[in-house]
Symmetry: C2
Subunit: 476 residues, 2 copies
């Protein structure tokens, strides 16, 4: 079998493929002891595990079949994917805004699923233009790959490096930033960038896809067009997540980086703004703010905001604080929890613990001695709510007051994930617990808000007049 026909496969799976005379791009009927499958054998990356044969099913999903379960493989055809993306030079138009696209590993607009290792990522400007030609109608695009990790493997090194790369590009004068990112921890990265990058003069837009671009239902291209549109033209100069709004492709939503969370493991409409309204709706040709209290763009290469004096003022105001101390943990409370969960963190040198408590911010009485121990040991303990929507309000009930009496600090409606990221960032700035507390309780980017709007619970979806109006005018 040629190299091409076994691309990425090693023993013991390779022998099984050779035995049944099938290879990469074979359309096969696979008979296994766990059921029958029909699909196309995908190429694998060199770092992929050696024990699975990966099929792209007709549904578009990939499935990994363990070599030991394979009873027979019958080739019924071959369907080589369009492996080579037609590369065309990205047109340059000096009248269009300049956007920088960073990649962190969650590949946008790939030909195949971006996480199997079998991807051919469309990532150079020319490849992106070949894949999503509409991008050239929006902006001048340059790209840079920062990392190549699955989003669950993003960590302090990548968060700091991304913030620094974004800062350098903004100072060099681009009109906006797009960051391609895997969706699993996109909201974590969005939160920490919201703290690290303050008073940005231009939009910083995170984007990803829930369905790879070889599937008819892919959200990759549309999300990317929405993100580029936002980076190039939006007046909202914040760290945002740009993803599908409703389950159909009627519009995208821009979510504030500190108030957004992935809420469904597979739907495209997975990202939601919690306890607040999203920042804006976005279509292929428009960004429609849903509120007015955002940080406005203070610089663009076109128009009056492009003048050198204004740019200087905007840049002077712009701050990057790229630090993170990872000695912080989230404890997700459950009834029946025992104090050893906290004791171990204290013993292991953690400096801070974010509790996701029940209700308004509660844990059970058996935990109290461990909370007192944390207080004595100088380990900062802060409270968020595992309901995800709503506030930690620890004055209301006896339990909350008792827990506060042991030094636990409520964090209002800060999401547990945002609190974790902010704490690592705060610990990176100071050894002084009082200064850390001051940083934690001072709202920086909407992570604590004074009140929840009437439509902040569960979902901001169709039915509101402005949404209906937007769909009517901007849907293609």
């Amino acid at each position: 079998m040629s190299d091409d026909r076994c691309k990425g496969y090693r023993e013991p799976t390779l022998s099984v493929m050779q035995q049944h005379d099938v290879g990469v791009w074979s359309d096969v009927e696979a008979h296994t002891d766990q059921g029958d499958f029909r699909g196309i054998i995908l190429p694998r990356s060199e770092t992929a595990d050696a024990e699975h044969l990966v099929l792209k099913l007709i549904s578009g999903y990939n499935v990994g079949l363990h070599y030991s379960t394979l009873i027979s493989l019958t080739e019924v055809g071959r369907k080589e994917a369009n492996y080579k993306i037609p590369e065309q030079e990205f047109p340059h138009d000096p009248k269009k805004p300049y956007v920088k696209l960073f990649g962190t590993g969650g590949t946008i607009a790939s030909r195949l699923d971006y996480r199997t290792g079998a991807v051919i990522p469309a990532f150079t400007p020319g490849e992106l233009y070949g894949s999503v030609p509409e991008l050239a109608d929006v902006c001048n695009l340059t790209t840079e790959k920062l990392y190549g990790v699955f989003s669950e493997n993003m960590g302090p090194e990548q968060w700091i490096g991304t913030a620094q790369a974004v800062e350098a590009q903004i100072r060099s004068g681009v009109d906006g930033i797009v960051i391609g990112h895997g969706t699993d921890t996109m909201h974590h990265t969005a939160a920490v960038l919201s703290f690290m990058l303050q008073n940005s003069p231009v939009p910083i837009v995170m984007v990803g896809s829930q369905r790879s671009s070889d599937r008819p239902s892919s959200d990759a291209a549309l999300n990317l067009i929405h993100a580029a549109r936002t980076a190039a033209f939006s007046d909202i100069a914040e760290v945002m997540v740009c993803m599908f709004g409703p389950t159909s492709d009627e519009y995208g939503l821009l979510h504030k980086g500190t108030r957004v969370r992935k809420m469904h493991s597979s739907y495209r409409s997975t990202f939601r703004t919690l306890s607040d309204t999203p920042l804006a709706m976005v279509s292929r040709d428009n960004v429609q703010p849903l509120r007015q209290d955002y940080n406005h763009r203070r610089y663009s290469t076109a128009g009056e905001k492009g003048n050198a004096d204004l740019r200087g003022i905007a840049m002077a105001d712009f701050k990057c604080i790229p630090v993170f101390d990872d000695r912080v943990s989230i404890v997700y409370y459950y009834p029946g929890m025992k104090p050893d969960i906290f004791d171990s963190l204290i013993d292991n040198g953690y400096r801070a613990i974010i509790i996701a408590g029940t209700g308004l911010g509660h844990v059970n009485k058996p935990i109290y001695p461990a909370l007192r121990r944390a207080q004595d040991a100088g380990v900062a303990v802060y409270m968020t709510v595992q309901t995800l929507w709503g506030y930690a309000q620890m004055y209301v009930y006896e339990t909350g007051r008792e827990i506060m009496g042991m030094g636990v600090v409520p964090l209002g409606n800060m999401l547990p994930e945002a609190a974790y990221m902010k704490m690592g960032w705060a610990l990176g700035q100071s050894e002084d617990p009082e200064e850390v507390k001051r940083i934690m309780l001072e709202p920086i980017a909407g992570e604590i808000t004074e009140r929840e709007p009437h439509d902040g619970y569960l979902v901001h979806q169709g039915g509101l007049p402005e949404v209906a109006d937007f769909i009517k005018h901007h849907r293609k």
Copy 2:
């Protein structure tokens, strides 16, 4: 000051009250170094902490003021609450169904907030009749207080005891069970009762309130009427949570005990069915199923289901398995997590770990050695998703396949809380990891479903034809 005027207060707060000549039921203006407050001083329980003065604000919320912050207290009036509930004998009507109401500590229909300790719980049938006379239109009611703990302090002892008490009542022939419970961990208890009490011939309905009954917006009475209606008449013989549906009081919803979760820290509409549709809508006089695939009532004291033969068959089928081994923990994954979180659990003798992973069920690579250690040590590790909606699908991506290769078992769309409760229950039944795995993966009460319905994401709310129709016909 008389005993009544300082009820429950001790030093050092008592001196401050005496110094300013105020007492329980004083309507005071409190000037503190953290701001000014106006409200009524509430009585306290004997076990309450000694350092706070508790005011019922005009908003209905209680606030605890630390004695050291008090600058002045000025009595502007007195508003003694109606301390004594008018007690009337609960009428007996042999033609009405028989319902047993158990209390666990979250008090229903109390005159004051049920968690301050200052409550006068309406709990005897006579008191409940005095507070919520509509109950007598629904059923014959008897009551029994099982526990008096805040819901965050419910644990294995209370879960087992509640299951046993419910079993005994059902075998004695009541038409349905209502369990009053604090809302914080109501979904945890609902899940474990769903596993412990199988094939119940009658409804088992958990109910609570998000606002105490002295507030105009209280949901206590309406939730209790809905729950009693359900227990007495509903054809759905499952463990359910009965709470407010939408944010208004248009209808209540019945949620399956394994698929429900508290999603807002303070709203009345806090309970939501996740990745599925609720079981039914409920009004004061009707229960309208929203689906057909539930366990049907097989016994009632009225009608044909009351015949002795049918009752015998129903009871033979009914099982109670009241066991729980608490050597299980939930690990809520966050990017940057280090393996010591798992190592400590292994070292501390836990038998099982439920991970709430990102996306389709992922953790980062630095955790892998700890997962291998857990596998070698015989600690069972199972995967759920922290998106809460959707499935753990670990075959889709490399990371998931690698993690499964280390023995981690995906739990479909089982909620992390339901998985924790089921695991404690499974560990209580067997020392054999294979038997525990068999129990975990076998759906018992809807905790794993094959597919998510189109309206299973985020919220089942107004707009559907059947909801509009229900409101039109049943709203009072």
